[in-house]
């Protein structure tokens, strides 16, 4: 009898387990909805992360140049700014004689 009881218990467990799997399968149509919402967040995340925490996890490199200002280039391509900021060079008195 214990064997019979064990067999019934096993069959019951398997039935319940398979029922659970089946339920999950039927729930998959729901996931896209959740997935869509996740996707929507993901599509917004990179921009938010780039500006915010600078996380490299999903940072699309292509977005960086338009977002970041390269202050070095901004100044070094500006002739007027460089002319205004450049310190005059103090030329050393030429003390050498003859051809070097």
């Amino acid at each position: 009898m214990p064997k019979k009881a064990a067999l019934i218990a096993l069959i019951t467990t398997l039935f319940l387990a398979l029922s659970a799997c089946s339920a999950a399968e039927y729930q998959t149509p729901v996931e896209p909805t959740a997935g869509e919402s996740t996707q929507a967040v993901a599509s917004e995340e990179p921009a938010a992360k780039n500006i915010g925490d600078g996380s490299q996890e999903e940072a699309p490199v292509v977005a960086l140049p338009t977002e970041q200002v390269d202050y070095c280039l901004e100044c070094h391509t500006d002739k007027e700014a460089l002319t205004a900021l450049a310190k005059p060079e103090i030329k050393a008195e030429a003390e050498s004689e003859g051809v070097g």
Partner: protein, 379 residues
């Protein structure tokens, strides 16, 4: 070379954005920080990140080139030290190192000195708005340093002496003969014949006249001395005369250079007594497999026993170990020259041979291996 204004030296051109190097953040190579405040941005910034010990930026991507370049003559200046070593003793080296740092090391060359900026030793400044030029500018890079002899001779800047035929007729620039391989790796040509382990045991690449002639005239002029060569003089003299003996003309010699540091400004400076044009043929004191010639063109170098006396007395006790009339390769090649006009324009012409009477008495011992004891007889 026209001097650049301070702003011109650091003005980045729009074209730099199209250069692959323009895709990187400036701070990647130069350090510092991208900040609108100039002082903040420049704190910790490295002007030439290709300078050894300053980040080694070029090696990040061009590691193999950089590895070889560190041992090249442009980077190591080992040719300078070869001369100093020959003429001195180890106990002189501390003082000579101080002299070298003050007067010689500014001729050291970095990647940026050839590919981005005018060499720092001649004032620096972008050649092409920071665009990284694969091929250096002849006037703003090569002859910016190699100007007083090579540049002036090649371009024909000495009155009455035409420029080099390769420039006049073919408009060849420095890189037409001196390739990137030669510039980046001074022993690259040795590896063609000598195995790596054999090469490692050899004393090569310390001076520009070590090892194979790179470049050699025969690299292009393949017909010279061959059976098909219509010029019998080539066959007759090929292994006896360096090409320049027949095909170069008057070139620059200098006398007596002394170096010191100014008491007034603290800056190092030099004085040379004289600079003049000569054409002299001497004995080939470097005669070897790669330079089998008996006669070569020689020029007077401004070496003098007391050149470095500012740094200590008698720093060149072996001064006579190296000639003061040196093997030369003038860059003013001509097809027709006064000495190749006829046999007797050279044979029997004592004026163009370095005989003892043309050598200063104090330099006779140093030049014994160069002095021509007997001028080749007239035909």
């Amino acid at each position: 070379m026209a001097p650049l204004e301070p702003w011109q030296k650091v003005l980045v051109s729009e074209e730099f954005a199209d250069d692959p190097h323009g895709n990187f953040q400036c701070t990647l190579c130069h350090g510092g920080v991208s900040d609108p405040d100039m002082d903040t941005a420049h704190a910790g910034m490295v002007a030439d990140p290709s300078e050894p010990g300053k980040g080694n930026a070029c090696a990040t991507c061009h590691g193999e080139l950089k590895e070889h370049f560190d041992n090249s003559l442009h980077a190591s200046q080992s040719g300078y030290w070869e001369r100093l070593d020959d003429r001195s003793l180890p106990e002189n080296h501390d003082q000579l190192s101080g002299m070298f740092d003050n007067h010689c090391s500014s001729c050291h060359t970095t990647c940026g000195d050839c590919h981005i900026s005018q060499p720092a030793g001649v004032g620096g400044g972008f050649v092409d708005g920071h665009v990284v030029n694969k091929t250096p500018s002849m006037s703003q890079n090569c002859t910016a340093c190699h100007g007083s002899r090579v540049g002036n001779e090649y371009l024909g800047k000495h009155e009455g002496i035409p420029g080099d035929v390769h420039f006049r007729s073919e408009r060849m620039n420095c890189m037409s003969c001196h390739t990137g391989t030669e510039m980046h790796d001074s022993t690259a040509s040795c590896e063609k014949c000598h195995k790596t382990e054999e090469l490692a045991a050899m004393d090569t690449g310390n001076s520009r006249y070590d090892g194979e002639q790179v470049p050699s005239c025969e690299s292009c002029h393949l017909e010279v001395g061959a059976e098909s060569d219509p010029n019998p003089q080539h066959t007759l003299h090929k292994d006896t005369l360096q090409c320049q003996v027949c095909h170069s003309v008057q070139n620059t010699s200098c006398d007596s250079c002394h170096v010191q540091v100014s008491e007034k400004t603290g800056n190092p400076y030099f004085t040379t007594d004289a600079t003049y044009l000569t054409f002299m043929i001497g004995k080939n004191y470097l005669q070897n497999f790669h330079r089998p010639y008996e006669y070569v063109v020689v020029r007077h170098a401004p070496a003098t026993p007391d050149a470095y006396d500012f740094y200590g007395e008698n720093l060149q006790p072996n001064f006579d170990a190296v000639p003061t009339w040196l093997y030369a390769t003038p860059h003013n090649i001509q097809r027709k020259t006064p000495q190749n006009a006829s046999c007797n324009a050279c044979h029997g012409n004592a004026d163009i041979f370095l005989t003892a009477d043309k050598v200063a008495p104090g330099e006779l011992n140093a030049n014994q291996s160069v002095i021509v004891p007997e001028v080749p007889a007239a035909q």
